[in-house]
């Protein structure tokens, strides 16, 4: 699991304004993958408008990337920034769980 200690921590304020880098792992265009992409876009637009970037990694094309983020379940979403790294799995249909899992509660 990656840890980032280089960045200074500014807890409450940061999480409200920090830029979010998200990586969504999928494996081909399965119903769950398609749902995850749609759900993620919606949540991000809602909570992080303009302050996020989504990278979709299809493991069928880049299987070597699965090891680094310890991907087992698909779909999986990794919040790479801001630190700490967070990981959630599933098709992101349970919006509340996604918000909690990515720690977006304070975001507006």
């Amino acid at each position: 699991m990656k840890k980032s200690s280089a960045r200074k921590r500014r807890p409450a304020k940061t999480s409200r304004s920090a830029f979010c880098r998200l990586r969504l792992y999928i494996a081909g265009q399965t119903p769950n993958s398609i749902a995850a992409i749609a759900n993620l876009r919606k949540i991000c637009e809602d909570k992080l408008r303009g302050k996020y970037r989504i990278e979709v990694v299809d493991l069928l094309e880049k299987p070597q990337l699965a090891k680094g983020d310890q991907i087992i379940a698909i779909p999986a979403l990794v919040r790479r920034l801001p630190p700490p790294v967070k990981k959630i799995i599933g098709n992101l249909s349970k919006t509340e769980s996604v918000i909690v899992g990515l720690d977006l509660r304070l975001a507006r």
């Binding site: 494996a27 991907i71 087992i72 379940a73 979403l77 990981k87 959630i88 992101l92 249909s93 769980s97």
Partner: protein, 495 residues
């Protein structure tokens, strides 16, 4: 002197040899090739080690690369764990014979937000298998997934899919699982694995550990359902493939000298049958070891290999003591005809001893084996266990056509004499030694209590041990033997 190995029955099913001594014999050649084998047992039973040996031997001896998906240990830890066994994982990994993928499953770090499956795991495994063209796969321990993920219905469906996937790709796989309370594995993995299930067990009784292996299920192969003791030592795992072989062994009619002409004389002038088992029981200091030493000297003189298991004394002490009764065994040791193996009985459990004895016999392939004394094994286990172990050992020795001598220390009126009676039924010949003091003069007596298949003398003789060696005196008329526990009644009771 080495004898040829007995024939091994060729397997009918395609097998992937494990390279683990004994296990391939028990399973008729190894694990089912291209199938999934479940290896289950409690923590610390040795399943991870067995799985790892399967991969390492596969890579080194059988030219089959292997992938280890480890859910518990990182590659670094795994390397350190097996380094003591002389396995250089780093070199194997560098040569693309082995690939370790550490899979971390931590529920605290994974929130679930909807439907998912384990495609990520499949992709990782497929990627690893492809990278080194693996033929073998270990998943250790896949049950960690149950700890990390909550959707057990999905998990079970995915595991089923995973096992099918392994078979579709013709991979020989070992999946490990933790023993459950009422089931073989905590999460019932045995329901998904139809071909081969092996259970390991590690028991500690009275501070002595015993390890056992059992083939629970092996489709398409006849296998022993017995528990086989196994050993973990510096060379890894070795299983003792000893089972009750239904008394199918040959019974040779040729004879071997006891090493004492007068004793040969008592046994039709020819001595023991080859490949028979001989019990020498007696109280302390009656000359059991001397009798064994004479037997060994005669075998060495014939140019036959001997293996002496000493549970009481060090080899040097035995050599010194034997010199004092006119027996110099050292030249035979130098000629590498005679091998001593000294062990403290309490250092390992009974199964451990059996495993060690078996391993050494396989290695040295002697014609004569002496175990001196079996009494000390009783101290680490109950009489029943000793009997069952000796039964397996005696069967094994007979199949290997080895003549064996077991000494047993008895104490007058002690339960130990019951031990002698219990194990004597396994023995073809039983020689009883005893001290007596007729008219105040100490005397040693020898008596052939039984010797199957021959008309042996039933008359007690005086046993004279001096610096000239062992001699037998005249037939005793005033002997005490016939009236002791070890009298004919005891034989009848034991048989």
């Amino acid at each position: 002197m080495r004898r040829p190995r007995p024939k091994i029955v060729r397997p009918s099913l395609a097998k992937a040899p494990t390279g683990i001594q004994g296990l391939d014999e028990v399973t008729g050649g190894g694990l089912p090739k291209g199938r999934v084998t479940l290896l289950c047992g409690s923590a610390g039973c040795g399943k991870s080690l067995l799985a790892m040996e399967f991969l390492v031997h596969g890579a080194v001896r059988y030219g089959e690369a292997g992938v280890c998906m480890d859910f518990e240990e990182t590659e670094e830890k795994l390397r350190a764990n097996v380094a003591s066994l002389g396995f250089d994982l780093r070199a194997l990994i560098r040569r693309k014979k082995l690939l370790v993928d550490y899979v971390s499953v931590d529920r605290n770090q994974i929130a679930e937000t909807g439907e998912y499956n384990l495609e990520g795991l499949f992709i990782r495994l497929a990627h690893a298998v492809k990278a080194i063209k693996a033929k073998r796969v270990v998943l250790d321990s896949i049950e960690a997934l149950f700890g990390g993920l909550t959707d057990s219905t999905m998990l079970r469906a995915e595991l089923r899919r995973l096992f099918h996937w392994l078979e579709d790709h013709k991979l020989t796989a070992v999946v490990t699982g933790e023993a459950g309370e009422h089931t073989l594995t905590r999460h019932g993995l045995e329901e998904y694995i139809a071909d081969c299930v092996i259970a390991l067990d590690h028991r500690v009784t009275e501070q002595i550990s015993t390890r056992r292996l059992r083939v629970v299920k092996y489709r398409g192969t006849s296998h022993g359902t017995d528990e086989y003791p196994f050993l973990i030592d510096r060379e890894g795992i070795s299983v003792v493939p000893i089972t009750s072989l239904a008394l199918a062994h040959e019974a040779p009619t040729d004879r071997v000298s006891t090493g004492i002409p007068a004793l040969d004389e008592m046994m039709e002038g020819k001595g023991f049958f080859r490949a028979s088992s001989v019990l020498v029981s007696g109280t302390s200091g009656t000359g059991k070891s001397s009798l064994a030493a004479n037997f060994i000297r005669a075998a060495c003189a014939r140019g036959e290999g001997c293996l002496y298991f000493a549970f009481e004394e060090s080899p040097n002490q035995i050599l010194r003591n034997m010199r004092s009764v006119g027996l110099d065994l050292e030249p035979s040791v130098k000629k590498r005809l005679l091998h001593f193996h000294a062990m403290r009985p309490t250092s390992i459990g009974l199964e451990g001893h059996l495993a060690a004895v078996h391993k050494l016999i396989e290695k040295l392939r002697p014609s004569v084996v002496v175990i001196d004394p079996i009494t000390n094994l009783v101290s680490v286990s109950g009489t029943y266990n000793v009997k069952s172990m000796l039964m397996r050992l005696v069967d094994f020795l007979k199949v290997e056509q080895i003549t064996s001598m077991f000494t047993n220390l008895t104490f007058a009126g002690d339960p130990q004499e019951r031990t002698a009676a219990a194990v004597s039924s396994l023995m073809d010949t039983w020689i009883v030694l005893r001290d007596s003091r007729p008219n105040g003069r100490p005397r040693r007596e020898l008596y052939v209590l039984k010797s199957r298949g021959m008309a042996h003398s039933r008359e007690p003789r005086e046993l004279i041990v001096s610096e000239r060696g062992i001699e037998l005196g005249n037939v005793l008329r005033d002997h005490a033997l016939a009236t002791t526990v070890a009298g004919p009644g005891a034989v009848a009771a034991a048989e």
